[in-house]
Symmetry: C2
Subunit: 235 residues, 2 copies
DNA sequence: CGGGCGCTTGATTATGTTCAACTTCAGTGG
DNA sequence: CCACTGAAGTTGAACATAATCAAGCGCCCG
């Protein structure tokens, strides 16, 4: 499991404007350098940390995708969150907790280590960082709560259609990267591999979606939204 | 819908030590008085705020219980969180969002209004308050994520047993107050009224639990835990 | 070219929902 | 105090949805 390590230079970081440091001036960014942030790389399927490991570092995802998961003793697994470029994760240490999830690379990826104690100081001295982190916490909470609604109240086809429609909305490309296996999608939506596969096959035959090597294309968003909410418009 | 209103005096508040102000000195508490906190009462089933209302106030629950819910357009509902004495809620305004849930009184209850802008200033000036609020956010996030695991990966009996075992753990009384209807329990666990009723009846017949007028008693925790996790110990 | 993993598809089963009738309980008014 | 009412809860039967079991396909990688 090779893991290349290098030093980062915050003021030149190419994902700075997507990170919690996006609102900082160059002067403020220079302060971060005390921090001497390290950058590490992970391969697909490599575990970044395990649930209950000591959370001394938070992370910013520089490139690639990561999944956070929780599991029951018998192995049944739920994906809690899927992380994309610029996302902050592993911040449980702020509340003196160990990591509450297991983080696994879905693709090759690169991430920046942010020591919790250092971040905590920065949060107190730089209001922009405090706001950025707080917003991310509250957005995470809101997203988790929306997922609770999905998991608790929607049925298989609704969950899956909802997931597809909202996947990668923020991107511009028509074809969205989707490095999730059927198992991953199932673990995210509380479904089995077979159920996921069946609906996707059906929607492909109906011409609602296309798939090609880990990429998806929504061909008919309107009709896919009908699956979610038969009456109303799509969101 | 009568709603009595009075002024609170933080330094004498009887739930102070359960609130986000529990770590403050009396001097610091006096500062809060600028705040001139108002206290309001609600009756059972009264709505405190609706999802999408402007979130200018957060609240501390002084007495009673409250549920936070989200609903789909067709009315299917998920309970997101159940609030007890000392809990903080309605803080979506910190991220400039409107309320993300609807808050409804489960019992008669009394709550203290905390203007977001004022709290935000306090968070910056008093480190203890910042820590207290941050801990609550992160604990809420963790709880929501645990619920995602429950909703996504566990089956009906497991969810219900798990819910019962952990309900009111922090209290000492053997009989726990449980002002939730079968519908509420269903909305919390993603089940129907009938499914909830069936398992509860069964467990009553088996002598695992007792119920009396909105109170429950776990008679046989060990066996109830077997339902959740057939092999291992409880928890 | 072979092996294995991930995916698909069908058949069967289990779990939980839906529908419906009935019971219990709390609150109301005579 | 009791009879009445409506809401909440229970229980059974039929049904639907998704899980499980099983077989086979296709693609990627060595």
């Amino acid at each position: 499991m090779p893991k290349t390590i290098k030093k980062g230079i915050c003021s030149r970081c190419y994902i700075r404007n997507r990170s919690i440091f996006s609102e900082l001036s160059y002067e403020q960014l220079d302060k971060l350098q005390n921090f001497s942030p390290t950058v590490t790389s992970y391969q697909t399927k490599e575990v970044i940390y395990y649930q209950n490991d000591n959370s001394s570092n938070a992370f910013t995802l520089r490139s690639g995708m990561v999944k956070l998961t929780k599991s029951l003793p018998d192995g049944r697994t739920q994906i809690i969150r899927i992380l994309k470029q610029g996302d902050l994760f592993g911040f449980d240490g702020f509340a003196n907790q160990n990591y509450n999830q297991t983080a696994t690379a879905l693709t090759e990826c690169e991430l920046c280590h942010l020591p919790i104690t250092g971040l905590q100081k920065l949060r107190q001295s730089e209001a922009e960082i405090d706001t950025a982190i707080m917003n991310r916490w509250l957005n995470n909470l809101n997203a988790a709560e929306n997922m609770m609604l999905t998991l608790g109240a929607q049925k298989a086809s609704e969950r899956l259609a909802n997931f597809l429609v909202h996947w990668g909305e923020e991107e511009n490309d028509e074809w969205k990267k989707m490095p999730l296996s059927r198992k991953d999608i199932g673990d995210l939506l509380g479904l089995t591999i077979e159920t996921v596969s069946r609906f996707l096959s059906q929607w492909k035959k109906m011409g609602l979606i296309q798939e090609y090597r880990g990429n998806v294309l929504i061909k008919n968003k309107t009709e896919l939204c009908e699956v979610i909410n038969p009456k109303g418009t799509c969101e």
